[in-house]
């Protein structure tokens, strides 16, 4: 079963998208804490206990939902940092984006992202995707189990 103590990290700069994603994860039965950050720089600082998170000892997230189009550091750069570091490279990363450009999808997979989700304007599809992700989360085992 899902590891309740591990948070989910959601890095997304559009507050509307944050709310929609959160609502749908909750509807799918995900009860984990969702840590919300609105830029790539903070995401890196959170994960590696740097900058404003230097004093904290943040728990390793169960999953990272990462928008591609972020201020400070782009989703690509954050993904690159995550996958290049021994401490974080095994955390599953789901890229969220409005872009369905084949080059960008390829680039994300090349950098080691696990799933690439295009935010569709078709809301039914979007919420289904997020809910499926939630259902998927509530059945997977964490790497430590």
């Amino acid at each position: 079963m899902i590891e309740q103590s591990q948070p989910i990290l959601l890095v997304e700069d559009d507050p509307g998208h944050v709310l929609l994603i959160e609502k749908n994860l909750r509807r799918a039965g995900v009860t984990n804490e969702i840590i919300k950050l609105d830029n790539g720089g903070s995401a890196v600082e959170y994960l590696f206990n740097e900058g404003e998170f230097a004093a904290a000892s943040n728990p390793i997230p169960l999953l990272i939902l990462l928008d591609l189009n972020l201020p400070v550091l782009s989703g690509f750069e954050v993904l690159q940092r995550i996958k290049a570091d021994e401490r974080t490279k095994r955390i599953p990363v789901v890229m969220l984006t409005t872009t369905d450009s084949p080059q960008e999808i390829t680039r994300c997979y090349d950098l080691g992202c696990n799933i690439y989700v295009v935010k569709p304007v078709d809301y039914v599809k979007f919420s289904e995707t997020i809910r499926n992700l939630g259902l998927f989360l509530s059945t997977i085992k964490t790497p430590d189990d």
Binding site: H17, P71, S74, T98, Q103, K119, P120, Y123, F126
Partner: protein, 428 residues
């Protein structure tokens, strides 16, 4: 006596050569093997403002020209010292015409302080034993050409930048506009969901109200609010389709081209197979003229011909049996394809409009986004060709497009590679 005669003949020959060079309109001078000026023509006087009498026998052409000691091209020819040319001229090369000749270009300030761009040509003069005994140098003022070139270069650079701007603009518009749409769509769905959950509560609550109040509340809850949400929803969908259309257009403009041999008869036959059903419905016949094998990107060509044929079928007249004819002609440079139909035709005023994005001409009885011909034109231009159409309303339309016989060296568009990342890297 005989010797005297020979000497005289030789002198006459020499004078003749000198007069020839003197009357030459191109500034020309000659130096001997010890770098001394032995000839300085009138045109050279005019260019430099220095009289021939002032310079004959002097060994320093560089100083006359530039005001300080430095070798000129003819000096390098005499010494055979070609490596040092590089440091002294902006542009230099071996002469294409004269063996062992040199060519160079550089800016030169004349005596009046006027900047001139000069093309220098120097060549050795050899005796019968092959020894270099002198060097001749000509100077051509190509300032006007240089300035025109610079201007053209600037225009080309500007155009390239503008093009890049438009491309990345389309890309940014398409991507950044979609993000708010996700919200509009998402939250209108949330409102719909809330309405559904509210419905039983509303029903019991509203039952307690007086008749007039109740009717007013029901109209709001059951009609006005759902109607508003529906309009938001359908507008978002339309906006999304339009944005996707722009995105597709910008992708076509940047698509990687892989030119290879394409048998256009085969290509058109396979496209027509996919249109068979529509053709049968319209009782339409298709004539395919002898078509060439061309060298072009197969996908782009398929999209172009597919769109044009699809249009030809879609806009056939319902009153008569349809006929579509595909022909091609070639010259040394280009291949021209013609797709002729006997359909409803396009009014003269709409001929250019049909290629614009989101513009549709004539009766709007066939669904479409108005993007097909915009895609086609983008793709044709990408292949290095052009497209036009001739039409007679009620009679039919002929769309014609060209592609070069030898594909342009495009490969992956360099601009495109840059645009891909911009929306992300530009963020602060």
């Amino acid at each position: 006596m005989c010797m005297e005669k020979e000497r005289k003949a030789l002198q006459e020959q020499m004078d003749c050569v000198e007069r020839l060079i003197q009357s030459c309109a191109v500034p020309t001078f000659v130096i001997d093997s010890r770098h001394r000026i032995i000839l300085w023509n009138k045109a050279c006087e005019a260019l430099t403002g220095v009289k021939s009498t002032e310079v004959i026998d002097l060994a320093d052409v560089g100083k006359i020209f530039y005001g300080f000691k430095r070798p000129v091209l003819a000096d390098f020819v005499i010494d055979g010292n070609l490596e040092e040319v590089q440091g002294n001229y902006e542009v230099h090369s071996h002469s294409l015409l004269i063996p062992d000749g040199l060519q160079a270009e550089r800016w030169y300030t004349d005596r009046d302080g006027k900047e001139r761009y000069i093309c220098f040509d120097a060549a050795p003069i050899r005796n019968s034993r092959g020894e270099t005994i002198a060097a001749v140098e000509t100077l051509q003022d190509i300032t006007d050409r240089k300035r025109a070139e610079e201007k053209l270069q600037k225009v080309a650079t500007d155009l390239k930048e503008k093009n890049e701007e438009i491309r990345s603009f389309a890309y940014i518009v398409s991507h950044d506009l979609r993000a708010p749409l996700v919200n509009l769509k998402g939250f209108s769905s949330e409102l719909n969901r809330a309405l559904r959950e509210l419905a039983p509560l509303f029903a019991s609550g509203v039952a307690q109200l007086a008749e007039g109040e109740r009717q007013k509340m029901e109209a709001l809850f059951q009609q006005d609010v759902p109607e508003a949400l529906e309009f938001i929803d359908s507008s978002v969908n339309r906006m999304d389709r339009l944005i996707n259309a722009i995105l597709k257009l910008s992708r076509f403009g940047r698509q990687e081209l892989k030119p290879k041999k394409v048998d256009t008869t085969q290509l058109i036959t396979s496209i027509l197979k996919t249109l068979r059903h529509q053709l049968e419905q319209r009782h339409a016949t298709v004539t395919i003229g002898p078509l060439p094998v061309v060298t072009a990107d197969n996908t782009a060509l398929e999209q172009i011909l597919g769109n044009l044929l699809d249009n030809a079928v879609k806009y056939l007249s319902s009153g008569r049996n349809g006929h579509i004819e595909i022909t091609a002609e070639q010259d040394a440079e280009i291949t021209i394809f013609h797709i002729r139909d006997n359909g409803r035709g396009i009014a003269a005023a709409d001929l250019e409009k049909v290629f614009q994005i989101f513009r549709r001409a004539g009766r709007q009885d066939i669904p479409g986004e108005g993007m097909g011909l915009a895609y086609v034109r983008t793709l044709v231009r990408r292949l290095g060709g052009g497209i036009w159409c001739v039409s007679e309303p009620g009679e039919g339309t002929t769309f014609s497009f060209t592609i070069p016989r030898v594909p342009e060296q495009t490969g992956k568009c360099k601009l495109a590679a840059g645009c891909e990342n911009k929306p992300f890297e530009q963020r602060e």
